[in-house]
C-alpha cells in the first residue's frame, strides 16, 4: 500500500469504522452508566441561590480556595492542554471543514500560525503533566496502564498533526495519514477509557452540585 492509498483508506474506511465505534461506544456507555438512576431525596431541601447541579458544572472548573497552591501543575497544565486541544481541534480551518462535512456546522477559524503555536504549547503542557504524573507520589501511586495509554492516545494526534504541517520526519502525505489514523485510534478508545470523562464530567458535576445544593451548599 503506498502513501496515497494509506491516506485514502484512513480518510475513507478507517474514518467510517472509527466514527462508528465511537458513536456506538458513547451511546452504550452513557446509557449503561446513567440508567442506574438515583433515588429521590426525601429530606426537606434548603434553597440557596447559586447552589445547584448546573452551577457546579461551571463552577467546578475553577480551583477551590487554597488548592491552586497545592498542585499548580495539575491546574495550570490541565487548563493549558485542554484549552490548547480545543483551539487546535476546533479552530484550525481543515478541522472545521471536516466537522462541517460531518455535521453541517461551521465557524471561522484562526490563522494557522496561531494554531501552530497552540499545538506546541499543548504538547509542552502535556509533557509537563506527564512528568508530574511520574514524579508526584500520589499520581504515580494512582496511575495504571490506562493513564499512560490515554496520554499517548491524546498526545499522538497533536504531535503527528504538527509534524505533518512542519514537514518533519516523514513526507507530508504519510504524516497526514498517520495523523488521521492517530485520531481514529483516539476515537475508538475514548468511550472505554478514562477519556470518557469528556462526557461524564457533566453528569458527575451535576450530581455533586445537586446533592450538595439540596443542603444549600454551593460546591
Amino acid at each position: 500500500m503506498n502513501d496515497m492509498q494509506f491516506l485514502t483508506w484512513v480518510r475513507g474506511a478507517g474514518l467510517d469504522i472509527a466514527v462508528s465505534i465511537f458513536l456506538l461506544g458513547v451511546l452504550w456507555r452513557l446509557i449503561e452508566i446513567y440508567s442506574l438512576g438515583r433515588k429521590k431525596d426525601l429530606a426537606a431541601p434548603r434553597q440557596v441561590s447559586g447552589a445547584s447541579g448546573w452551577h457546579t458544572i461551571f463552577r467546578r472548573s475553577v480551583p477551590p480556595e487554597g488548592m491552586m497552591k497545592k498542585s499548580p501543575v495539575s491546574y495550570i497544565g490541565g487548563y493549558t492542554f485542554h484549552i490548547g486541544l480545543a483551539i487546535v481541534v476546533f479552530l484550525f480551518a481543515p478541522h472545521i471543514l471536516l466537522i462541517k462535512n460531518l455535521t453541517g456546522l461551521s465557524w471561522p477559524g484562526l490563522p494557522s500560525q496561531f494554531i501552530d503555536l497552540a499545538a506546541v504549547v499543548t504538547m509542552a503542557a502535556m509533557v509537563i503533566v506527564l512528568a508530574d504524573r511520574i514524579n508526584k507520589p500520589v499520581k504515580r501511586y494512582l496511575s495504571t496502564f490506562g493513564d499512560w495509554f490515554t496520554w499517548t492516545l491524546t498526545f499522538l494526534p497533536v504531535l503527528t498533526g504538527w509534524m505533518a504541517v512542519q514537514h518533519l520526519l516523514l513526507p507530508y502525505t504519510t504524516m497526514l495519514a498517520l495523523h488521521i489514523l492517530s485520531v481514529e485510534l483516539l476515537l475508538v478508545f475514548l468511550p472505554f477509557t478514562k477519556l470518557f470523562h469528556a462526557f461524564t464530567v457533566f453528569g458527575s458535576r451535576w450530581y455533586n452540585g445537586t446533592v450538595n445544593g439540596h443542603k444549600g451548599v454551593a460546591v
Binding site: L42, E65, T144, D147, V211, K215
Partner: protein
C-alpha cells in the same frame, strides 16, 4: 455473628447508583483529592488518597454493572473483591476518613467521594469489616440508647442538677412543645452546661421545648458505621418520639453526624418526608438572633477563633450563622485560614474518634489543625460539635498547646442576662 462477604456485596450492589457510576467513570487519577485530605497532607502516604479508599468498590461496580467489566471478570482479567481485601481496606475507609467531604468539593471532574465512602461503608459493615470501636458504639446506641452507654436515669440526674443550679425547668415529654431538644452523649456526660444553655435561651426567646424520654440521644452511630439498617433504627426512635409529642421542630445538638443523619439522611432512611422540621441548634440560634429573640450583653475580650465542624458547615450548609453569633458576643473574633466552607476536619469525625487503633494517625493528622491555630494564635477555640471538642482537646494536649476549647451555645448563653437565676423565683 452472620456478617458475610456475600451480604456485603449484595448491599453494595443495592447502593451503587448512577452518580457512583458516573463518578468512577470520570476519575482521571489527578490526585487533587489527596491534596484536600488531611490524612494525606499530614502523613504524605499516598494510600490515603480519597479515591483510592474506594478501589474495591470501583472494581465491584465494573464487574457487576458494566459489560466490559463483566466480561473481564468472566475471563479472569478482573479479580473479584475478597474478604482479605476488605479487611485491608478497613483502615482506609474508617480510620483515615472522617466523612469530612473536602475531597468532594475539590475534585475537578465533580466526584462526590464522601458520598461513595458513605455507601462503601454499607458493604464494609454488612460484611463484618467495620472497626471494633465503632461496632461497640453502635451496639451501645442500639441496645442501651447511647454510644457512651448513657441511660435515661443519667439524663434525669443531669436535668435535676441544671434545674437546681439555674432555676430553670427542663421539660420532659411535654406534648405539643414547639421544639424537641436532643443531646449527644458527650454533652450529657462531659458538657452539662449545654443543657443549661438551652434552657436559658429558650426561656429568653419564650419558646416551648421539651426533652423526649425515648429519644434524648442524637448521636447516630449507625450512620458512622455506615449501615442504613441500623441508622434507620436510631432515626426511627427520634421520629416516633417527635411524632408522639407532636413537636414542630426537632433540634439536633452540637454534634456533627447527628445532624447529617437526621436532617439529610433521616427521611430517606424511613422512606417518607418528615412531618416536622429539623434544625441544628446553631441554626435555631441564628434564627432567634435574626428575629430579635436572642439578646445578649457583654463581650468576650480574649482572642477567639472558630472551628467549623464539617457536618455543620461544608456538609450541612450552616456557615454564616455561627459567625453572626460569634460577632454578637466576641470583640476579638478572628478567622483561621481556610475557615468556613473549606475548613479542615478535626480528624475525629465519622466514627474515627471511636477507633482506638486509629489514634496515632488522628494525632498526626491533627498537625493540620495545629498549623491553622499556629497561624491565628487564639487564646481560646470555639466550636459547635461535642465530638470536635473532645478531639480538639486531645490533639491540643498532645501538642502541648494551651488553648481551651469552648462550645458556642454555652458561650452565647453565658451572655444572656440573668433574669431567673435566683432559686425558686
Amino acid at each position: 455473628m452472620s456478617a458475610s462477604l456475600e451480604k456485603g456485596v449484595r448491599v453494595l450492589k443495592e447502593v451503587i447508583d448512577a452518580p457512583i457510576a458516573s463518578y468512577f467513570n470520570s476519575c482521571v487519577h489527578c490526585g487533587l483529592c489527596a491534596e484536600a485530605c488531611l490524612f494525606y497532607t499530614e502523613t504524605g502516604d499516598p494510600k490515603y488518597t480519597p479515591i483510592h479508599k474506594l478501589e474495591p468498590l470501583r472494581r465491584l461496580y465494573e464487574q457487576e454493572y458494566t459489560l466490559v467489566g463483566r466480561l473481564a471478570k468472566l475471563v479472569g482479567l478482573s479479580k473479584p473483591v475478597t474478604d482479605d481485601e476488605l479487611e485491608e481496606w478497613k483502615e482506609l475507609v474508617y480510620n483515615s476518613c472522617t466523612l469530612c467531604g473536602r475531597c468532594s468539593v475539590v475534585c475537578p471532574v465533580g466526584n462526590d467521594i464522601v458520598y461513595m465512602v458513605r455507601k462503601f461503608r454499607e458493604g464494609m459493615s454488612a460484611s463484618g469489616h467495620a472497626p471494633e470501636g465503632i461496632i461497640g458504639a453502635v451496639n451501645r446506641t442500639v441496645t442501651i440508647g447511647s454510644p457512651m452507654g448513657v441511660k435515661l436515669p443519667a439524663v434525669k440526674a443531669q436535668m435535676k442538677h441544671v434545674e437546681e443550679d439555674y432555676g430553670l425547668p427542663i421539660p420532659l415529654d411535654a406534648e405539643g412543645a414547639e421544639y424537641m431538644v436532643m443531646l449527644s452523649s458527650m454533652e450529657i456526660i462531659n458538657f452539662p452546661e449545654y443543657l443549661a444553655a438551652i434552657a436559658k435561651i429558650m426561656h429568653q426567646a419564650g419558646k416551648t421545648w421539651t426533652l423526649c424520654s425515648t429519644a434524648f440521644e442524637a448521636t447516630n452511630a449507625g450512620m458512622q458505621i455506615g449501615n442504613s439498617d441500623l441508622a434507620r433504627v436510631l432515626v426511627t426512635r427520634i421520629v416516633d418520639g417527635a411524632e408522639k409529642l407532636k413537636v414542630k421542630t426537632v433540634i439536633s445538638p452540637e454534634c456533627g453526624h447527628a445532624y447529617t443523619a437526621l436532617r439529610w439522611e433521616g427521611a430517606n432512611l424511613i422512606g417518607r418526608p418528615f412531618t416536622f422540621k429539623v434544625q441544628h441548634i446553631i441554626e435555631v440560634l441564628g434564627e432567634f438572633q435574626e428575629q430579635g429573640l436572642l439578646k445578649t450583653e457583654g463581650f468576650e475580650t480574649d482572642r477567639l477563633t472558630f472551628h467549623d465542624p464539617c457536618q455543620l458547615a461544608r456538609r450541612g450548609g450552616v456557615i454564616k450563622q455561627q459567625r453572626n453569633l460569634m460577632n454578637m458576643v466576641a470583640k476579638n473574633f478572628v478567622e483561621m485560614p481556610d475557615a468556613g466552607f473549606m475548613n479542615w476536619c478535626c480528624g475525629g469525625g465519622g466514627g474515627a474518634s471511636a477507633i482506638e487503633e486509629g489514634e496515632e494517625l488522628r494525632l498526626e493528622a491533627f498537625k493540620k489543625k495545629k498549623s491553622q491555630l499556629d497561624t491565628v494564635k487564639p487564646d481560646r477555640l470555639v466550636t459547635a460539635c461535642a465530638n470536635c471538642r473532645i478531639v480538639l482537646e486531645e490533639g491540643l494536649e498532645h501538642y502541648q498547646m494551651d488553648i481551651p476549647v469552648v462550645g458556642l451555645t454555652e458561650m452565647i448563653a453565658e451572655h444572656i442576662p440573668d433574669q431567673t437565676t435566683e432559686k425558686g423565683a
